[in-house]
Amino acid sequence: MHGRLKVKTTAVQEEEKRIKRQKKLKLFQGALAAAFKKIHSKEYDPEGLYITQEILAANSDYYTIWNYRKNAFLHFKNTKTSDELLKCFQDELSFLQNCLKNNPKSYSCWNQRCFVLLTMSDPDWKKELQLCDLFLQFDDRNFHCWDYRRFVVQHSAVLPGEEIQFTHKLIENNFSNYSSWHYRSKLLPIECPDASDKNRIGEKMLLEELELVQNAFFTDPNDQSAWFYHRWLLGRGETKQSLLSLHVSLLDNKLTCTLRKPASIKDCSRLNVYINDNPHVVVWKGCNQGKYQHVWQSDLPKKDLFSGENKIKVEFGSSELMVEMTGQDEAISCIQTNTETFRQSSSDAKLSVLTEELKSCEELNDLEPGNKWVMLTLVLLMRAIDPTHYSSQVHDTLHELCTVDGMRQCYYQDLMSKFVIEDHIAAVDLHQRCIDLHGKALTRVCRFEFFSTITSLNLSHNQLHSLNSPFKLLHCLQKLDVSENEIVEISGLKDLTKLVLLNLDSNKISSLKTLEPVTTCAALQKISVKSNRIPLEDIDSLLQILPNVEIVYE
C-alpha cells in the first residue's frame, strides 16, 4: 500500500550487518598493513597520520599505533614550522577527545594526551582541566581521568583551594565517591596544614570537614566512602619509633634491642650503644628474616663484662634504656607501659573533637540501630577517648557486631583480641617477664614486640586457631602454655631457642607434620600434646625424632 512502511526481516538485517562488518574488517586490515609498513620504514608523513587515525578511531587501545604517532610528532618537531606543529598537536587533541568519548577508560588515549601536552609548546592547561571536569561529570569515578587531572594540576599550578572546591562539587552531587574524598585528603593538608604535623589538617578545617562527612553518614550510614574519610580525619596518628626493651645476656653474649616499629638495618645505625658511658660500636643482626624487623641483636665483647659493675645503655633518638650488670647473667630493661601507650595510634585529633564525634555517632546509633559502620566507628572512638572507661561498652558493641555483620565476625574477634592484649600490656609491668592471658577469648595474638623479654606466656583457654605469628620475637621465651585452644597449626613456633616447656593440650592438631616446627626448638625438654587428634603412629615417630624430649600424650 502506498506510503506504508515495510520493515526488513531479521534475517535480511543480519545479512546486511554481516556484509557491513566484513567490509569493515577488510578495510581495517588493509589500513593496519599500511600502517605497519610505515612503522617499519619509519616513514612519518600526513598519510601515515591519516591511516593510523582511522585505525585508532576503530580501536583506540592499539598502543603500537599510538607510538607511531608519538614518533611522528617527535619527527615533525624537527621538520615542521611551529605553526604547522601547533596545528598538528591541536588536531591530535581534538582527535583524542573523540577517542576518549568512545572509550573514556583507555590507558593509551590518556597517555597520548599527556605526551601531547608535554611535547607541544605553550599547552592550554586550563582547557585540559575543563576536559577533566567534563569527563568526571559523566563518570565521577573514572580513575584514568582523576590521574590525568592530577597530572594537569601538577603542571599548571592550579591552586589546591580550587581543586578542593571541585571535589566539593562532586561530593555534593554524589558522596559515594572515594576518588573525591581521597583527593580531598591529599589537598587539605596542603591548603590548611596543622601547625604540628604537615600531613594533617588544622583544627578549624578539621571541624568543617567532620561536619561535612557527618552529613554524609547521617544521610546514608551504609555508604562506606564517607566512613573511611571520617576515619582518615580522626587520624591514625603515626606511632613514633622508639626503644621498647633491652636485654643483655652474658650466657650467650648477646645484646638484644626491641623497637616499637619494624626497622631496617639502616635505621639501626641510630641505635647507639654505650658501655659504662663509652660509645661502643656494634654490628646489628636481625633475629628474624625480612628487611624490617622489631628485634635486633648484636654480640657483646666478652672482655668488658666479666667482672664488677657494668652499665649498658642503648639510645634511639630521644628514647634510651639502660641495664646495670652486677654479676648476674642476664638483665633486662623495658619501657613502662600505661594507658597512653596505645592511645595515639588510634587518634591524634583533640579529645574534645573526638568526644563530639562520639556523641553524634551515639545519636546516629539510636536512630539507626544495628548499623555496622556506626558501631565500628563507635568502638574506635571509645578506644581513642578512654579505653578503660569504655572497656565493657567496647566489648559489648564488638560482640553485637559479630552478629550484625556475621561475614566479618572473625575481624571483630581479632579486633577484640587486640584490644584485650593492649589493655593487658598497658596494665602489666613487663619487667615481671611473665604474661598471663588465659581465658580471654583471644582469637589471635599480636603486639609481640612488647613481649620480647618475657620468659613465660600463658595463652591457655582461648580461641586461638593457629600459632602462625612470629613467636621468634619472644627470644627469651621458656614456657609457653597454649592448651585448651583450637589450634590446628603451629608454624610460628620455629627456632625458639630458649623454649623448654610447651603445652599444646586440648587442641586440634592432627598430624606429626603439624608438629614439625617444634623440632627446631633446641632447648625443648617437655611437650604436652594431650587431647589432640594426632594418630598414635605419629606420636611414635615424634618420640623417635625427639628422643631427649619428654612427650606427654595421654
Partner: protein, 646 residues
C-alpha cells in the same frame, strides 16, 4: 486546505490535544487509516504552547476560528441526510478558557528622558498592556555589570552552546539563528563596555522597553497546560518504547522549591540522597529520619508492618509517627508526595513511591520537562502518526457527524467544507463537544503565566526548571509553579513561569494572585529605576508580563453518544501525564483490542525503501506549524534512549 479529502477512513480524530495525538499515532502505527483534523491553525488544542504574540491573540479571543455553522445547529438543513440518518452537530467547547487577561508592565518608549521626581508607578490593571512611567536615566545605561538580567542572560547563552549544541536554537534552522547570533554579539559587546562603567555613580533602569520585549516574541513558548513528566511515568516509557522521543528534547527539573510557613524565602526541598546530603535546612538527625522514610517508601509494599496501624489514618499522621519534624513533614507532604493533609496513608505512600521511583533516572531529579514547552509533545505524536500514514489537516474540523438511526452508530462526519467523510470510529478531543451530549464541568484551574526578569530563588548552579509548591495557607488553596529558565527554549532572556491552582471552592482572584506574589516576592510595581549597588542576591524578581485565565475541564457523558464516538478529556490539573496516557491507551484498545499500543518504531536502516523514496520525507501534510510556535528538532535525545537499551 479546502481541497477534498479521501472520503473513507477507519478512524477520524477531531482535535489534536495530547490524548488524541497519542491515539492517532498508535492507530497509524498499526496501519489504521486515520484522518486527524483540528479547527485551529496550531497543534495541541488545550495542550498548546504559544509565543507572546499568539498567546495574546489567543487570550483576546480563544474561539476565533471561522465557523461553518452556528452553534445551535439550526442550519443542519444544509446537510443532506437520508431518512434513516440523523445529523448531530459538533460544537466548539467555548467554556474551557474563561476570565482571560494579560498585561505587560514594561514602559513603552524613552520619550521622557528628564529624571522625574514622581517615581511611584501607576499600574493600569484593566487589560492594559503598558504601564506609563517616568524614567530616571538614559536607556543606554540599562546595564548593571554582571547583575542585570541582560548580562546575566548573555552569560547563560554564552555557555549553553558549548555544553549542548543540540539545544542551541541555531539547530532550528529557521534563519532566526543568524539574527540571534548578531543579537548575542551585540549584547556581549554591550555588556563588556558596561562592565567598565563605575556602577556606584550611575543610576540606571534595569528593564527593557516594551518594544524590545515584544521584539523577542518568537522566543517564548508559553504553555496553556504546564506539566512535567515523571521520569518513570507512562509518557516517558511510551516515548522510549515507541521511539517518538526522537522528535523531542528534554530538560531536567533541577530543583524543587517550597515555601515554609513563617519563612520569607523559598527553600529547596531535599528530595534525593544528594539533596538531603547537601541541604542546609535540615539537621543531620532530620536527614537520617528523612532518608529512612524514603527507603521505606521506595518499596513500601514489602514492609506492610511499618504502616499497618495507619491504614485508617492520614498520611500526615503517619509521617508524624516516623518522628519527622514539622518542616520535614511539610517537605514530604506537599513537595514530594504532593498530596494534601487529608490524604490517607496508603495514597500518600503510593504518591511518595511514585516520586522516588522516578528519581535519579535522568540526573538528580524525578522530572523531565520538554524543551520548547509541553505543546511539543502532541506535535511529536502527530508527526509520528503522519510518518505512519495518518492524514492531517489543520483549520478543518467536523461540524457534525451522521448517525445511522437503525444501528445507532456514527457513519461519517461532515467537515467545514461540507464534505462527508465516512469513518469507522470518531474521536473528539476536549475542545469538540457533540451536540446534545450531557456535559458537566468537573473542575476548573486558575492559571497564570508570568514573565519575570530573574529566577524566583537564586542559587549557585544554573537552574533549568524549578518546581515550586506552595501549600495551602490562610484559606488559600495550594499553588504549584513551574519556573523554566532560558535553557529550556521557552523564553529568551527572562524566566517565565506558569502557576496553576486547584479551585474546588470558587476563590476570589485577588487572594490567589496575592498569595503567589507574596510567596515569591513578585511584584510588577517594582518596575522603576534603581540605584546601582543593590544586593543582587536579595533582589526580588519582577514581573514584566503576565496573564491569567481559568481553564475548565468538561466531562462528556459518553452513554448518550453512539458507541463508536469517543470523547477525550482535557489536561486537568494533575502534574504529570499518566492520566492522559492511560486514557489514550484505553481508547486505542477499545478500537483495536489485542493490538500492540505504540510498539517500537523501526530505525531507518530497518526500513525497506523499495519505491525509491524515503518514507520519512513523504509526509503529504507536514505536521510542522508554520511559525516559531514550535519547531521540530530532529536530534535524538540521548538521555532518553540510553536507559531503554539497558
Amino acid at each position: 486546505m479546502n481541497e477534498a479529502l479521501p472520503d473513507d477512513f477507519d478512524v477520524i480524530i477531531i482535535g489534536t490535544g495530547l490524548p488524541a495525538a497519542v491515539v492517532s499515532g498508535a492507530l497509524s502505527r498499526v496501519d489504521k487509516k486515520v484522518l486527524h483534523l483540528d479547527r485551529n491553525d496550531y497543534y495541541g488544542g488545550s495542550w498548546s504552547s504559544f509565543n507572546i504574540k499568539s498567546v495574546e491573540t489567543f487570550l483576546q479571543n480563544p474561539y476565533d476560528s471561522a465557523e461553518y455553522l452556528n452553534k445551535d445547529g439550526e442550519e443542519t438543513s444544509n446537510i443532506e441526510v437520508s431518512e434513516d440518518e440523523e445529523f448531530v452537530p459538533i460544537l466548539q467547547n467555548k467554556n474551557f478558557i474563561t476570565k482571560a487577561e494579560y498585561s505587560c508592565y514594561l514602559k513603552r518608549s524613552e520619550k521622557n528622558e528628564e529624571p522625574a521626581q514622581s517615581s511611584s508607578p501607576c499600574v493600569d490593571t484593566c487589560q492594559s498592556d503598558v504601564v506609563e512611567q517616568s524614567c530616571a536615566s538614559k536607556p543606554d545605561d540599562s546595564l548593571k555589570s554582571g547583575e542585570t538580567p541582560i548580562s546575566e542572560e548573555v552569560q547563560k547563552r554564552e555557555e549553553s552552546p558549548k555544553v549542548e549544541n543540540c539545544n542551541d536554537p541555531a539547530t532550528q534552522g529557521d534563519g532566526d539563528s543568524v539574527e540571534k547570533e548578531k543579537e548575542l554579539t551585540q549584547e556581549l559587546d554591550k555588556a563588556k563596555t558596561k562592565e567598565k562603567v563605575d556602577v556606584s555613580e550611575v543610576v540606571k533602569p534595569r528593564f527593557p522597553l516594551s518594544e524590545d520585549f515584544y521584539k523577542q516574541w518568537r522566543h517564548y513558548n508559553l504553555d496553556l497546560s504546564p506539566k512535567v513528566m515523571f521520569s518513570r511515568g507512562l509518557l516517558v516509557e511510551l516515548l522510549i518504547q515507541s521511539n517518538v522521543s526522537r522528535y523531542l528534547e528534554f530538560r531536567n527539573v533541577t530543583r524543587t522549591l517550597t515555601f515554609l510557613d513563617g519563612s520569607k524565602e523559598l527553600q529547596r526541598v531535599p528530595c534525593s540522597r544528594a539533596d538531603v546530603f547537601s541541604s542546609k535546612f535540615v539537621s543531620v538527625v532530620e536527614k537520617r529520619i528523612l532518608m529512612r522514610l524514603f527507603t521505606l517508601c521506595a518499596n513500601y509494599k514489602d514492609h506492610e508492618q511499618e504502616y499497618q496501624n495507619f491504614r485508617e489514618k492520614t498520611f500526615i499522621e503517619f509521617l508524624a509517627s516516623r518522628r519527622l519534624s514539622l518542616k520535614a513533614q511539610h517537605f514530604v507532604l506537599y513537595s514530594i508526595a504532593m498530596v494534601s493533609e487529608t490524604t490517607s496513608t496508603l495514597d500518600g505512600l503510593a504518591a511518595t513511591h511514585k516520586f522516588l521511583h522516578s528519581l535519579g533516572r535522568y540526573g538528580n531529579s524525578a522530572f523531565l520537562w520538554p524543551s520548547y514547552g509541553v505543546g511539543e509533545i502532541p506535535q511529536a505524536f502527530c508527526r509520528f502518526s503522519a510518518v505512519f500514514g495518518g492524514t492531517f489537516c489543520l483549520r478543518r474540523y467536523a461540524v457534525g457527524f451522521i448517525k445511522d438511526k437503525t444501528t445507532g452508530r456514527c457513519t461519517a462526519i461532515v467537515d467545514n467544507t461540507g464534505q462527508k467523510i465516512r469513518c469507522g470510529t470518531l474521536i473528539l478531543d476536549d475542545l469538540n463537544l457533540p451536540h446534545g451530549a450531557n456535559t458537566t464541568s468537573t473542575s476548573s484551574v486558575d492559571r497564570a503565566i508570568y514573565v519575570i526578569d530573574s529566577t524566583v530563588s537564586k542559587s549557585d548552579a544554573e537552574q533549568e526548571v524549578s518546581l515550586v509548591t506552595i501549600p495551602p495557607m490562610c484559606d488559600n488553596p495550594a499553588v504549584r509553579l513551574i519556573e523554566a529558565g532560558p535553557l529550556c527554549c521557552v523564553c529568551p532572556k527572562n524566566n517565565y513561569y506558569c502557576t496553576k491552582k486547584n479551585c474546588e471552592k470558587q476563590p476570589k482572584k485577588l487572594p490567589f494572585k496575592k498569595n503567589v506574589k507574596n510567596c515569591l516576592n513578585l511584584d510588577e510595581t517594582n518596575i522603576k529605576p534603581e540605584v546601582g549597588g543593590e544586593d543582587s542576591q536579595s533582589r526580588k524578581p519582577v514581573i514584566l508580563w503576565s496573564c491569567h485565565f481559568t481553564m475548565t475541564d468538561t466531562n462528556t457523558d459518553n452513554s448518550t453518544l453512539p458507541p463508536n464516538v469517543i470523547t477525550l478529556q482535557g489536561p486537568r490539573m494533575d502534574l504529570g501525564f499518566d492520566r492522559a496516557m492511560n486514557e489514550a491507551r484505553e481508547v486505542f484498545l477499545r478500537i483495536c483490542p489485542g493490538e500492540d499500543f505504540l510498539p517500537r518504531a523501526p530505525d531507518p536502516e530497518e526500513i525497506v525503501f523499495d519505491e525509491g523514496y524515503n518514507t520519512e520525507n513523504n509526509d503529504t501534510i507536514s505536521p510542522t506549524p508554520e511559525d516559531g510556535g514550535g519547531d521540530y528538532v530532529e536530534e535524538e535525545e540521548e538521555d532518553l534512549n540510553e536507559p531503554a537499551a539497558e
